[in-house]
Amino acid sequence: DVKVTQSSRYLVKRTGEKVFLECVQDMDHENMFWYRQDPGLGLRLIYFSYDVKMKEKGDIPEGYSVSREKKERFSLILESASTNQTSMYLCASRLVGLAGTDTQYFGPGTRLTVL
């Protein structure tokens, strides 16, 4: 079974702090993603990485950066946390299967509160 783990389930930080969210997958997937989930807005893509050291901005990258130094690990960084970044953060990795099918596997999520 594919496993995607995230470093924390719950996190409370203060405004202005630098915050690191880590995601690890154990299936050698090339593609990894960071989303945030807010009520009534669904999931919105922050950043994705299609390979080691490769990244692209998603729909809401402002205030975030990412790092992918190893294939299995994708980190999301909040350079200076703000209260509007209080949210559920979900990491996913993507498997491309036979016949062009693909599946995203999601981690358990990190609920971040910024005070």
Binding site: G42, L43, L45, D59, A99, F106
Partner: protein, 111 residues
């Protein structure tokens, strides 16, 4: 800009009844996905629909895709309490790695 709209946003239904969740998207896409999310948990993949007319079924859930109408449906047959969850559809933006998600449909099945 690709937009994905789901309706209804909330659905409360009796056990044993049938209902359909709709997912509309605004531009051409290669493929459509359905996910389930239980309260406090992460998303679980249900279906991947790759072509026009594609239909997939798993238990009491059946998903279909009409690429001409840019519409996917998730049909629930004879609902049971265990199907209570939030269901999301998502579309892959053609030629990219970007997935665009709908806002989700929160389903509650009443005993």
């Amino acid at each position: 800009e690709l937009k994905v709209e789901q309706n209804p946003l909330f659905l409360s239904m009796q056990e044993g009844k049938n209902y359909t969740i709709y997912c509309n998207y605004s531009t051409t896409s290669d493929r459509l996905y359905w996910y389930r999310q239980d309260p406090g948990k992460s998303l679980e993949s249900l279906f991947v629909l790759l072509s026009n007319g594609a239909v997939k079924q798993e238990g009491r859930l059946m998903a279909s895709l009409d690429t001409k109408a840019r519409l996917s449906t998730l049909h629930i047959t004879a609902a049971v309490h265990d199907l209570s969850a939030t269901y999301f559809c998502a579309v892959l933006y053609s030629g990219t790695y970007k997935y665009i998600f709908g806002t989700g449909t929160r389903l509650k099945v009443l005993a």
